[in-house]
Symmetry: C2
């Protein structure tokens, strides 16, 4: 049995709702079931092979004295292994595949052997760079440590195995002894956050206050100019202003959202409402002016960074897959802390669009960047270029194992509860069994293709429970058991439930045209097509002869059709729409684009 | 007396027209006179100080054994000195300032002392890297050599002094002995072109065929995959296809246009019409889908690269100042080779907009990148960010001395001739005295503010001369001596001219709205405002209270006004226009933006 999911506030944490362990929910059919299966059956095994081929595991073995040779690849190479370990650990909690556990434990033994006497562990630095923390703004040593902490916590939560936890406790103790403002310590932070989340989770698992204190120090250390370097400015590292004084997101997008997610963990565990409030302000600014309709985060290739407010080009959207994942992590923590439906809407938008677009239907080919437009005849000039099409791995391979750990822990993001209430945030066919209240439900739905969601109570305590169902902000006209409910909020039924009774949520699924804020210059005169939680896109191969996606102008007043195409792209609902010239166009869900090779595509459609 | 300008085809070169030496034309008043004066009086002296402060000169002195210490800065640090030397050499031809010549010759002595016995010269490699040509795709060793060749050629042409020429001949001989496909030679090219132009110019000055052959080899060596490296793809280096098979421009913009300009030199000197034709195809593709209305080149920050066709974001336009300069060099060479007016139009568009925007009115503060939009509240996150405002120098300081050499040789781009004809391409108040025909004219005009251009003949041979005046493509309705003439072509008067007679060209200067190609998604629903050769922009500080540039919507049907504002920004004509709400807006020439600090600005204006 899994004890907790990827973010598990302690009993004293200041949170509104508490998450369920991933194995308290199941996905039995549909889109997510297909993707989670591909992740388990194809992606995670392929990932292990890629880690062998790209020599990440070799690096660890060299550091461990198990193999000869040099270390190879980027300075953060270990982190790809660590993310894979986390993915495998969550997957073990789902499948109880003992071979997978054996692989995890074998790598764990290598990690333990590679670890220095004092707890330090980073194979590339140990073997190639030798000097520790020489250039921490770029060296990712804490970044690697943070990911390993997340992996170790996942493993102990899903399997009870503490071998990896022992390694990270030693590593975390080393960090506690080394970093901070006290005399004799090194007052500095890693250029790439994630250790903040890792340390708080390790605190949650071990109860060691020093880990939480160190996480808080790392959060508070930013904005003091520690990371000022030549060429790249503090903005890049989220270091221009202190986290609690920041009012927006800026700089490297993955760094920014990982930091914010870690800060949210710190705020929850320390009861720091001022910090939480600052994070809410930042999140709102991001959602207002720095996020794509796909949920994608980070407009700029240069510096993989957030752009200025409303700088959201469709063609050069960077929208890194990892940024969407970090965005989900941040939004989830904000949801736990505040109980605000908008954060669950955010999780939905990012998961169904900017995250899912980052991986092929088969699970083993990835996009690093997720643009909202690709032009005819685009030439790739970069390893990560979408003009290449999806790729099995990258020279900087952060995204693939990040995708894997997200699928493997997916069920941890579906529901929350308190002692007297249960909240459903995402709708997938399957089950939710809440241990706090004793309420169990079976969810029957064809969501996101259909808006009917039927919950059948499978277990119920003999007391009143408040069951809350998220009504997405886009779902104007939704009903709960036939009664109109407010969109962008939770619809709640409070009663003593009985096994067998059914609660029905109906979300209207008519396709809709979405306009951007008028300051988004890049998509002026355009509309995007959405249906339910899905953003749609036009891909060249679905259009009639003679229609060139680059030149399309659509008629937004013409009727939109919805068609079930079980044959297409794993089974999707397409939307048919009208070109201004009269031709009928076919839109597919954005998240399945580029599964038939790279080709012209666009989300934002010029209107007549 | 100056013998020739910055590109001087030999008598056997296959060219349509031949340039005049820069001192055969003068600029006596107006915009260019002001800028050239600022360049001479402020920028070139300040540049020398910057080269001291940034240690570029120190590097050379270390290599020469004149100073102790390490070399500092990027691997191409010498090239900034070389470009400054070229600027100073052209400026010496203009001013005959003997102190300036003394500075040039002092640096030349250091260069000679630093030069290796066998001719090799690159201070950073000699002192810091030690191993030559170890990673030529990134090391810029030929790039530095090419710029030094251009400087040496400039010096000998303006002063007759051969000290620097001696250095570069030795350097070029070393390159000839080292590079090529012959046995024992190194078959490789520099990742950053410019040596091609340098070698052809050196061939032109010395008559040494081997330099032309080496330039041709460097042009032909591209597209063979020599530069394929990890991470960056051959596209970046203009190395995806051979130059003569390429049909567009792609990759790093400065690299691409420098290569093309060098290839045009090679084509001219070798009579290679197929190569010239390929370059014409590439230029047309660039002008059609990869150039901003400002003439700016290179849409992408990432890789400082051309984007895909029609990928031309206003806000994130990179449009490096150096790329506009390289574009002028390429267009000028195409003009010499073909006599097509469109290339002179191109020179005009780039000089008056994308080039001039790169330097402050005072001449000593620069933009590296030249966006067409800056939003309110933009945060700089990069040394080069326009949100910083203009800067006196950059850690990568290619642009400032590039600007200096362009101003200092500006008069070399005004006119051409043959034995029987003279062509005026750009209109500035001053004089043109053609030595081939003996025709001299004085040009009286307030261009670009006014469209009346009066040429008074000051010297005339006793024979028929064809005097051609460019009528810009935007100048529909132009007249020559009262008769309508075709826009986008040369208007020619062929007769035996008499001293004192006057030829009058009238170019209509009504402000005009310009629409982009419909595939330029970034500016859909917008228009740009132009007048004569100038692109206009709205800057926040010129607008009435309550009008926010980010939110402006203009009425394109409302009357446009033109107002002379001698007080404003060195004296400009502003255009007044109407906001859709009725407010009167004021547009300034784009090229003077950010002379009052960085602020919100936009060229492309949403229309109601």
């Amino acid at each position: 049995m899994t004890t907790a999911g990827p973010a598990a506030p302690t009993s004293t944490a200041r949170v509104h709702w508490r998450p369920l362990a991933p194995d308290r929910a199941s996905v039995t059919a549909g889109l997510w079931a297909d993707r989670i299966r591909a992740n388990a059956d194809a992606a995670i095994p392929a990932g292990l092979k890629q880690l062998e081929e790209a020599q990440n595991l070799h690096n660890l073995r060299v550091a461990a004295g198990e193999e000869e040779g040099d270390v190879i690849g980027p300075i953060f190479a270990d982190s790809d292994v660590h993310k894979w370990l986390e993915a495998a650990a969550w997957e073990y909690g789902r499948s109880h595949d003992e071979d997978l556990l054996a692989s995890i434990l074998q790598i764990t033994r290598t990690l333990a052997a590679a670890q220095a006497e004092d707890g330090y562990l980073d194979s590339v630095v140990q073997v190639r760079e030798r000097e520790r923390y020489r250039k921490l703004e770029w060296s990712h040593e804490h970044y690697c440590a943070g990911h390993l902490m997340q992996a170790a916590v996942a493993l102990v939560r899903t399997s009870g195995r503490t071998e990896l936890l022992d390694v990270v406790v030693k590593l975390a103790d080393h960090l506690v002894a080394t970093f901070g403002t006290e005399d004799g310590k090194y007052d500095f932070v890693d250029g790439h956050p994630v250790v903040e989340m890792g340390l708080v989770e390790l605190y949650r698992e071990t109860g060691t206050q020093a880990y939480l204190d160190l996480a808080r120090y790392f959060v508070e250390a930013r904005g003091r100019g520690l990371l000022a370097t030549h060429g790249v400015e503090p903005t890049y590292f989220s270091d221009r202003v202190p986290v609690r004084e920041q009012t927006t997101v800026e700089g490297h997008a993955v760094r920014a959202v990982y930091l914010a997610a870690g800060a949210a963990d710190v705020a929850a565990e320390t009861g720091d409402t001022a910090l939480l409030e600052a994070l809410g302000t930042q999140y709102a600014a991001m959602a207002r002016g720095k996020q794509y309709v796909t949920g994608g985060l980070g407009a700029r290739w240069e510096g993989e960074a957030f752009g200025d407010d409303f700088e959201l080009p469709a063609d050069r959207a960077y929208a890194e897959t990892c940024a969407a994942i970090g965005g989900v992590q941040w939004a989830w923590r904000m949801l736990l802390a505040t109980g605000e439906a908008s954060y669950a809407d955010q999780v939905e938008r990012m998961l169904y669009n900017g995250f899912l677009s980052g991986v092929s239907l088969g699970g083993t080919e990835y996009f690093y960047v997720n643009p909202l437009q690709l032009r005819t005849g685009a030439h790739a000039d970069e390893n990560r270029s979408p003009a290449h099409g999806r790729r099995g791995w990258f020279s900087c391979a952060c995204c693939p194992p990040n995708v894997m750990r997200t699928f493997a822990s997916f069920t941890g993001y579906l529901a929350t509860s308190t002692d007297t209430s249960v909240q459903l945030h995402q709708y997938v066919p399957g089950t939710v069994d809440d241990p706090r209240t004793g309420l169990g439900v079976e969810v029957a739905t064809d969501y996101p293709w259909d808006g009917s969601i039927a919950l059948t109570v499978t277990a119920a305590p003999d007391r009143e429970i408040a069951l809350s169902l998220r009504v997405p902000a886009w779902a104007e006209g939704a009903t709960l058991d036939g009664r109109p409910v407010e969109a962008g909020a939770y619809a709640t039924v409070t009663r003593t439930f009985a096994v067998g009774e059914v609660v029905r949520l109906e979300l209207p699924m008519a396709p809709r045209w979405t306009a951007a804020h008028p300051r988004v210059d890049a998509v002026r005169g355009c509309r995007a097509l959405e249906r339910g939680p899905l953003v749609y896109a036009l891909e060249q191969s679905d259009q009639p002869d003679g229609v060139v996606v680059d030149d399309i102008v659509v008629d937004p007043d013409a009727e939109l059709g919805v068609e079930h195409r079980p044959d297409l792209l794993g089974g999707v609902r397409v939307i048919t729409l009208r070109e201004a010239s009269g031709a009928t166009l076919t839109a597919i869900p954005y998240h399945v684009w580029a599964n038939r090779g790279p080709q012209a595509m666009r989300v934002w459609l010029p209107v007549a």
